[in-house]
Amino acid sequence: MSDTRNKPESGTVSASMGTHQHRFEMLARAQVPGLYRYAYWLCRDRALAEDLVQETLLRAWKSLDSLREEAAARRWLITILRNEFMRELSKRRNTVPIDEMPLVDHSANVGGSDTDMFDVRRALAKLTPEYREPLALQVLMGCTTQEIAEMLELTQGTVLTRLHRARNQLREHMGLTGAMEEGAA
């Protein structure tokens, strides 16, 4: 009679891998579009944005078991992606003079020929990263100001100020009339 006690339970392993694979696929399909767009507005380089998302998801696969709640996935992935971006920035700072880093798309040409869209994207491109990033997290990724504060390691008050100033600057860049407090009693 053969002894099967110490044989690996291949069925269980496969099932586990299958579950892991399925979970990863669900995660990737739900989060990749948002993550790519967030990455683009972080670095404004389409090729780098794609690399960042790929690296983020690869890291996510490896530690997927540590993700207990699917609801927390978006925030978890954003944190991984930001870390990857910081790592990439740090690498580039060591090899390329910072003023030559091609992380600024002067054209803001990222698809679409709609004039209004082009103008808004150009205005977004003019924002400094400290204003653009919280705005992207709020408007694009649907994060609350509390979540943004925790991810960016800022106080909630600072986040609110940056969001307010970001919209104020955008209105000016877009030629919308007056500062936001104008007309307020």
Binding site: D45, H106, Q138, L176
Partner: protein, 240 residues
């Protein structure tokens, strides 16, 4: 009007969180037409922002990532013999792919160049009214990221972006030519043996050999590209 929440308070709050409607804010908006208008403007602005933030996602990115994750992370579950056989097959496949990828047929590469220029995401790059980019360091940075450099720089650039072309990073440049925009692609990873003519969909030009890579010079205007061939082939260097 609600005395505890002022117009200034409302505008500060809604400037940061346009969706917010606490009881005090909602009450103030009911009583104050100026702030109600402001609230509508901010919501409208956010609608435009959301649309603008949603840049096109590269086609098939999710599928590529899922496949990549599976291949890179499932290796430990494979039987050793299966892994070895798969490795041999993969090496053969990749060798074949790499050869065909770096030595595509002339027609294939000419078509791919025009397809890239005509891509809806890129077509704006050849709009005739684009402003000149005066930041030479930015243009150099784009070329450097694509593994290229240009002695003496490049004049009259109106567009510079790192793009993915046949899976590799390339420098996509547009210069203001005599009769309109001319597109220049610095194709570090695409080799051609001889000058390849481009004549498709109203675009004409050439893809010239440049060491291990090549340079595409293409326009849909009457700007002649021949004078640029010599200049570019002598100025472009591959750095990676």
């Amino acid at each position: 009007m609600n005395a505890s929440v002022t117009c200034l308070d409302v505008r500060r709050i809604l400037g940061a969180e346009p969706q917010r409607r606490d009881a005090g804010i909602a009450e103030h908006l009911n009583d104050c037409p100026g702030c109600a208008n402001f609230a509508r403007d901010m919501l409208a602005l956010d609608t435009r922002l959301e649309a603008a933030f949603k840049v096109p996602v590269p086609e098939g990115l999710e599928a590529r990532i899922v496949l990549d994750g599976s291949l890179k992370n499932n290796r430990r579950a494979w039987r050793p013999w299966l892994a070895a056989a798969a490795s041999i097959a993969m090496v053969a496949l990749l060798t074949s792919f790499a050869w065909h990828h770096s030595h595509p047929s002339d027609a294939t590469i000419a078509a791919a160049v025009v397809k890239h220029i005509e891509n809806p995401e890129e077509i704006e790059a050849i709009a005739p009214d684009r402003a000149l980019i005066h930041d030479a360091a930015y243009v150099q940075g784009v070329m450097q990221t694509a593994g290229a450099a240009m002695q003496g720089g490049l004049d009259d650039v109106t567009y510079a972006q790192v793009c993915l072309f046949r899976g590799e990073r390339v420098a996509h440049l547009v210069v203001h030519g005599a009769n309109g925009p001319v597109t220049i692609l610095l194709l570090r990873h695409t080799h051609v043996d001889k000058t390849v003519p481009v004549d498709e969909h109203g675009f004409h030009g050439v893809i010239i050999p440049a060491g291990e890579g090549s340079i595409a010079i293409v326009t849909n205007t009457t700007t002649p590209v021949q004078p640029m061939e010599q200049e570019l082939s002598s100025k472009v260097e591959w750095t990676l």
